[in-house]
C-alpha cells in the first residue's frame, strides 16, 4: 500500500498547489491501533497526514457532499458508488468533485481480529496480504483475506466506478456464484426464527445512531426518528421502537445501498446492521437487475416507473 499512499499524497499536493480543489478529503492515521479518521487537507504540507490502509472502513461520500467549493476525495469502490448515488440524488454536482480512485483489496474486520486476543490490541501493521497484530501478551501474523469484513468478501466492485485519476492499478473483480449467501441463510429460516434472528441482532442496540450517521445515504435534514411533530417512533429502549428504527432506515436505503459496510464499521455494539439492508440489495438485483451507484445517468428503481416493473405481488 505504500506506493499507493505516496501517490495519493502526490496527487493531493498537486491538486492543492494548482488550486484545482480547495480541500482533499481522505483518511489520517488514528491515535489507536486499527483506527483511521476522516480528514480534510487544505495545504500541500498537510498532505503528509493522508494514509490509506485496510482500516479505512468508513465511507467518505457524505463528507464530500457537505462541502462548499470543489473538493477532491479519496474513493474506494464503494465510496465511488456512493458518490454516484449522491450525484444522481442531487447532493453534489459532478464538477464539484475530483475523485482520486483507490482500487481496494478489502477492509479488515476489526472486531473479528479483536476476538483473537483476550487483551487489547496494541499494535497493527500490514504489508500486502500480511497483517501483524500485537497485544501486550502476544503477536499474531494473519492473512488479510481471512479477516476481511463480510461486505468486502462479497464485494464485486473493488475498483472505483467513477474517478478522475487512479492512485494504483485496477484490481481484478471477483464473480460470485451466490452473491447473497448471508441473506439466503436468513431466508431459509421459518417465520418465527426470522423474527427471533432480528430480535437478537438488535438486543444490544443503544440507539446512538452511529449506523445512520456513518451511512452516506442518510443525509436527510431531519431523520424520521428525530422528527417531533408528528413523532413517528418512540424514543426509548422499547424493542419495538428500536427495531422500527432499523427496519425503516433499511427500507429508506432500498435500491440505494452499496453495501459499503460503514454502518457495521461504526456500530459500537458490534451489530451486523447490514442484515437489514442486504435483503433489499438482493431484491433490487433480482427484481430490477439493479446495483446502486454504477451509473450517473440512471435513476434508482424505486424512483422510476417502468411497465416492466415486477407486479406479481398485486392481486
Amino acid at each position: 500500500m505504500d506506493t499507493c499512499i505516496k501517490k495519493i499524497r502526490e496527487l493531493s499536493a498537486e491538486l492543492l498547489e494548482k488550486g484545482e480543489v480547495q480541500k482533499v478529503i481522505g483518511f489520517a492515521q488514528g491515535t489507536i491501533p486499527m483506527a483511521t479518521s476522516p480528514i480534510a487537507i487544505e495545504s500541500k504540507q498537510d498532505t503528509e497526514k493522508l494514509v490509506f490502509n485496510s482500516t479505512c472502513g468508513l465511507n467518505l461520500a457524505n463528507y464530500a457532499s457537505k462541502q462548499k467549493g470543489k473538493v477532491a476525495i479519496i474513493a474506494k469502490g464503494c465510496d465511488s458508488r456512493n458518490i454516484v448515488t449522491h450525484i444522481v440524488e442531487n447532493q453534489i454536482q459532478r464538477d464539484q468533485i475530483y475523485i482520486i480512485g483507490v482500487p481496494c483489496t478489502g477492509m479488515v474486520d476489526k472486531s473479528k481480529i479483536a476476538t483473537l486476543f483476550e487483551d487489547e490490541i496494541t499494535g497493527f501493521t500490514e504489508d500486502g496480504n500480511t497483517l501483524r497484530v500485537t497485544s501486550s501478551s502476544r503477536e499474531e501474523i494473519l492473512k488479510k483475506q481471512d479477516y476481511l469484513r463480510e461486505n468486502c468478501l462479497y464485494c464485486t466492485h473493488k475498483n472505483p466506478i467513477l474517478y478522475d485519476v487512479l492512485a494504483t492499478e485496477l484490481v481484478e473483480e471477483q464473480m460470485l456464484e451466490k452473491p447473497f449467501p448471508d441473506v439466503d441463510r436468513i431466508e431459509a429460516l421459518d417465520t418465527d426464527a426470522k423474527w427471533q434472528h432480528f430480535e437478537n441482532l438488535t438486543k444490544n442496540c443503544i440507539r446512538c445512531y452511529a449506523c445512520r450517521n456513518a451511512c452516506p445515504l442518510c443525509y436527510c435534514p431531519t431523520c424520521f426518528v428525530d422528527e417531533a411533530g408528528p413523532q413517528w417512533v418512540g424514543k426509548g429502549q422499547n424493542k419495538t421502537d428500536v427495531n422500527t428504527f432499523h427496519y425503516l432506515r433499511a427500507f429508506h436505503c432500498a435500491g440505494r445501498c452499496t453495501d459499503c459496510g460503514a454502518c457495521v464499521e461504526a456500530c459500537p455494539m458490534g451489530i451486523n446492521v447490514r442484515d437489514f439492508t442486504r435483503k433489499l440489495n438482493k431484491d433490487a438485483l433480482e427484481l430490477f437487475g439493479w446495483e446502486a451507484g454504477l451509473d450517473i445517468t440512471k435513476r434508482p428503481p424505486l424512483d422510476a416507473y417502468s411497465p416492466e416493473d415486477p407486479d406479481d405481488f398485486i392481486k
Binding site: G30, T31, I32, A35, T36, S37, P38, I39, A40, L58, N62, Y63, S111, A114, T115, E118, D119, E120, T122, S136, N204, I206, R207, C208, Y209, A210, R212, N213, A214, D226, A228, G234, K235, G236, Q237, N238, E265, A266, C267, P268, M269, G270
Partner: protein, 350 residues
Amino acid sequence: MKFITIDKKNWTKGIDKSRGTYRLFGPVKDKNWCMIKELDGDILPDMEYNESVMSAKSVLFPQSETILNTSLNESVEDHHIMKRAKNDYTARAVLGIRPYDAKAIQLVKMNFDTKEYKDPYWCDAYEATTFVGMAITKPGPFDFSTSVDSGPFCEEGLDILLADLDDSFIAKILTPKGESFAAACGFDSTIDDKESQALFDILRKEAEKNINCRVETDKLKEKNLLDLHGASFWDDLAFSCINCGTCTYVCPTCWCFDIQDEAKLKESSRFRNWDTCMSPLFTRHATGHNPRGVKVQRVRQRFMHKLKYFLDKYDQGIMCVGCGRCVKSCPVNIDIREVCHTMNTYEKKD
C-alpha cells in the same frame, strides 16, 4: 476499615446467598462483549472481564426509565395527575464495578444530588446500591485513569474493593454498606489489616506502572473560557465527527436525559431516556431555533463541558475518569486525550 479474604470456592455460594436481600448487577459476557446487566436467576458476574463496552452508570440511571404514571380515564380518582412510578428501590449491589466507573458515579452525583435539587429517581437508586469494586491489575492501553484523579485501585465511591489473588479475593471493606453486603454473603474471614494494605499498595503500584498514557490537565483551570470557546482548532477537530451519540452513551460521566410522554388507551407514562449533546435535537427549541445547530458547536460543547465548564463550576477536576471507552468506541477516532492536550496547551494568538 477492615480486610477479609474470600476463597474463590466460596464465592458463588456467598453471592447466591446475598440474592435473598440484594438485586445483583454485574459484568456478563455476551459473545465478544461484556455488558453490565442485572444478574437474573443464577447468572454469575464475570469477574475476569477486561472492560465492559458500556459503563455501570445504567445500574442507577437506565437508558430508559419510567418516572411518572397517570390514568387518562376520567372515572378514576386522580386521573390526569402524574404520580411517581413504582420502581424497585430495594437493596441492590453492583459486583465487579471498575474503580473508574465508581468514581464516575461520584461525579454524576454532583449533578443529581445537590443542595438545591435532588433527582429522586437517581438518589433513591444510589441509596439502595452497594458498590463492590474490582481493582484493575491489568490496565488496558487506553486507560488514563491515573491522570484524572482515579486509578486502578481508586476507592472513591466504592463500598468494597476487591483484589484478585488467583484463588482468592481480598476484600477491603470501606463503608457500613460494604460491611452489610459482606455479611449478607457470609464472607467473614478477617485478615491482618496492615499486611493486606501493604499487599494492596504493592498491587496498586504494579498496576499503575502499567498505565502508559498520561494526560495533562493542569493548565485547563487557568485558561480563559471564552478564548478556548473561540479557539480555531474546533473546526478541524469536528470535521470527522459523524455526530452519533456513541461517546456520550459509553461515557460513565455523561448524565443528560430527555423526557418523553407516551400513552396507550387510558394509561399514560412519562419516562426519561439518555440524550446526547451530539444530536441537533438536544438543543432545538420549540420555535425551531437551535443554539447549537451546527456540528462544530456540539463537538465543542461536549469537550468544553467535560474539560472546562465542569472544572470551573465544581473545582473537583475534569468530568472524565480516564476509562478510555470513548477513545475506543468512536467510529472516527476522535480522541479525548488529544483534545485535552490541545486545550491544555492552547495559547490564544493575537
